[in-house]
């Protein structure tokens, strides 16, 4: 177990370092002079020199990189060019909204996908199965940026039941969570079905049935329990889809989270904030997946020994 933990730790650290480097290099991708792009053409030469120095862009690349990593290690994400606030404070204010949205969407996705996928697997090739899989296919084919506006059109503008956008009242969460959760539910329902079908063909299921256990007991205690492990891993991997989709969903509903901040900062050419958002979102994804991996290895010895 210790060896498994250590090898996972090392490979995660390598990926984290790679992510930091890639995000660091992003600012050098800006065509022309990033300082000129950020400040505009009419900026004073002294202002340009000051910003260049503040961002360390006058230093050699390696020096800049060392400085960037050093600052990150101290938890310093730099200053926003637009609001002149420390970026860490700025993002800290935006994190809760994204976490709320992600959790609510996850709840929507799991509570739709689990019954739907199980029903499809238990009644394979029945009308239930076809209906569930049609939903899954349509769900992955409807982009967030169409689903969101359609939901607004029906539930907010025509029926007047829910707020159009914003973050003021609890009801504002419903439409963004549905938008983001439906696509995820579609992906998950397919995976629940496939995983459960795999498990249902195992010998121990046949044994449980032969023992005379009720169908309900077989599904709940034997099948779903064994299907839970692979499903948790899949859920960890789908977090990427969730976080990526959250960016567009937050824009549609003016939901003040990390994704909203990312796009807002791109439009304001506030590149240090763009870098910080990228870093925060991708590192969350990496760490959650590393954690799922470790938990899986801990629960299933076959994984950590291979």
């Amino acid at each position: 177990m210790l060896r498994f933990l250590l090898s996972r730790l090392v490979s995660t650290l390598v990926v984290v370092l790679g992510v930091v480097t890639l995000v660091f290099l992003l600012i050098h991708l800006v065509p022309g002079d990033p300082i000129e792009v950020m400040l505009g053409e009419s900026a004073q030469p002294t202002d340009r020199a000051a910003l260049r120095q503040a961002l360390g862009l006058d230093q050699p690349l390696l020096q800049q990189w060392l400085h960037y990593v050093g600052q990150l290690l101290q938890g310093d994400l730099g200053m926003s060019l637009h609001s002149r606030e420390p970026i860490s404070a700025l993002l800290a204010a935006r994190i809760p909204a994204t976490v709320q949205l992600a959790l609510a969407s996850l709840l929507v996705a799991v509570s739709v996908a689990l019954p739907l996928g199980s029903l499809a697997a238990l009644h394979k090739d029945s009308a239930w199965d076809h209906a569930a899989m049609s939903f899954a296919l349509i769900g992955v084919s409807v982009p967030h940026f169409w689903m969101g506006p359609l939901l607004i059109l029906f539930f907010s503008l025509w029926l007047g039941w829910l707020p159009v956008s914003g973050h003021e009242e609890p009801l504002s969460l419903v439409l963004p969570a549905l938008t983001l959760g439906t696509a995820l539910a579609a992906i998950l329902a397919r995976m629940v079905r496939a995983t459960l079908l795999d498990v249902l063909s195992e010998d121990y299921i046949r044994t449980a049935r032969a023992k005379g256990l009720s169908a309900q007991a077989v599904v709940l205690h034997h099948a779903l329990r064994n299907a839970a492990l692979p499903l948790i891993t899949i859920l960890g991997l789908q977090l990427g889809t969730l976080l990526g989709g959250a960016v567009i969903t937050e824009i549609i509903f003016a939901w003040p989270g990390l994704g909203y901040t990312l796009v807002e900062s791109i439009q304001r050419r506030d590149y240090p904030v763009v870098q910080a958002c990228m870093l925060l979102i991708s590192l969350t994804y990496v760490l959650v997946n590393a954690a799922t991996d470790v938990v899986y290895g801990w629960l299933d010895p076959r994984i950590r020994l291979s």
């Binding site: 990926v15 084919s141 940026f145 976080l243």
Partner: protein, 278 residues
């Protein structure tokens, strides 16, 4: 049986319309940028079957030319990332050792960014425009193909015909070109076919965020974005481009599923035959 046939004809028809609109668009005599001021936000009618947008431009014309934008982006990104990914993956697996380890870590780093996120940041930093969208999406797209090509090459490396070629003293480029690449190709192309659906959504997504193609070039994503501001008075501006997008993506997914089932059947046939004998 007829149900099965319709599940191929239906999506096939949608794709055929999409492809012909995309390929023939500029020669159809469309006027995507003509402004009819008295008709601003007018709904569908006999004269203009999809109505007009917020600037008084015919929605049908813009929709047909938007198909071209999505196809252009998808085809360019697929070709670039397919060639780049295959090359990187095959070289990585072939040479092994330090090269392989570095490339595997590089792939892991790119996979650490949730799908569309890297594309959003890249096209945001590079600035809007068709070619920057293609660059941004290719930077994200090569990874999947590299991973697949690497796995395939690793197993091909052990096969008898490759080892025979090695023993005969064939040069590395020659072996890769004539003995590895032809066998790599099929699964990669199948993967690429599925990839088109994701790329159509990605291009529209970037355009929806204002990071994609620039006006007045029509894109389904930017049409949707412009339409959201007038949703209450002109819902057709949101419904129409989104429906087109969903129809094409759904058609590709449906045909992809059929293709996958078909290939699966072919691959599992010997096993099924063996099982029925026991």
């Amino acid at each position: 049986m007829s149900g099965l046939r319709w599940s191929i004809i239906g999506p096939g028809l949608i794709l055929a319309i999409w492809l012909s609109a995309a390929l023939l668009g500029p020669w159809l005599g469309l006027h995507p940028n003509d402004i009819a001021l008295p008709r601003i936000l007018e709904g569908p009618s006999w004269a203009a079957w999809l109505g007009y947008d917020d600037l008084g431009r015919a929605l049908a014309d813009r929709l047909l030319l938007g198909a071209r934008t999505s196809l252009l982006v998808a085809l360019q990104v697929i070709s670039i990332s397919l060639v780049l990914g295959t090359l990187i993956g095959a070289v990585s697996a072939w040479f092994g050792g330090l090269t392989d380890r570095i490339i595997v870590h590089l792939i892991d780093v790119f996979l650490a960014f949730p799908g569309i996120l890297l594309a959003i940041a890249l096209s945001g930093l590079l600035g809007p425009g068709l070619s920057n969208v293609v660059i941004a999406l290719s930077c994200v797209g090569w990874v999947g193909y590299a991973r697949l090509a690497r796995a395939q090459t690793l197993s091909l490396k052990q096969q008898a015909h490759v080892r025979a070629a090695l023993a005969l003293g064939a040069s590395t480029p020659r072996i890769l070109r004539w003995h590895v690449l032809p066998l790599l190709w099929t699964p990669l192309v199948v993967e690429a076919t599925f990839g088109v659906a994701g790329l159509i959504i990605a291009e529209a997504g970037l355009s929806f965020l204002g990071l994609g193609v620039q006006p007045p070039t029509p894109s389904w994503g930017s049409m949707l974005r412009d339409g959201t501001a007038y949703m209450l008075i002109a819902p057709h501006l949101v419904i129409v481009p989104g429906f087109a997008l969903m129809a094409v993506v759904l058609a590709i997914n449906l045909l992809g599923d059929r293709l996958r089932d078909y290939l699966d059947v072919k691959m599992s046939r010997p096993r099924a035959a063996a099982a029925s004998q026991t």
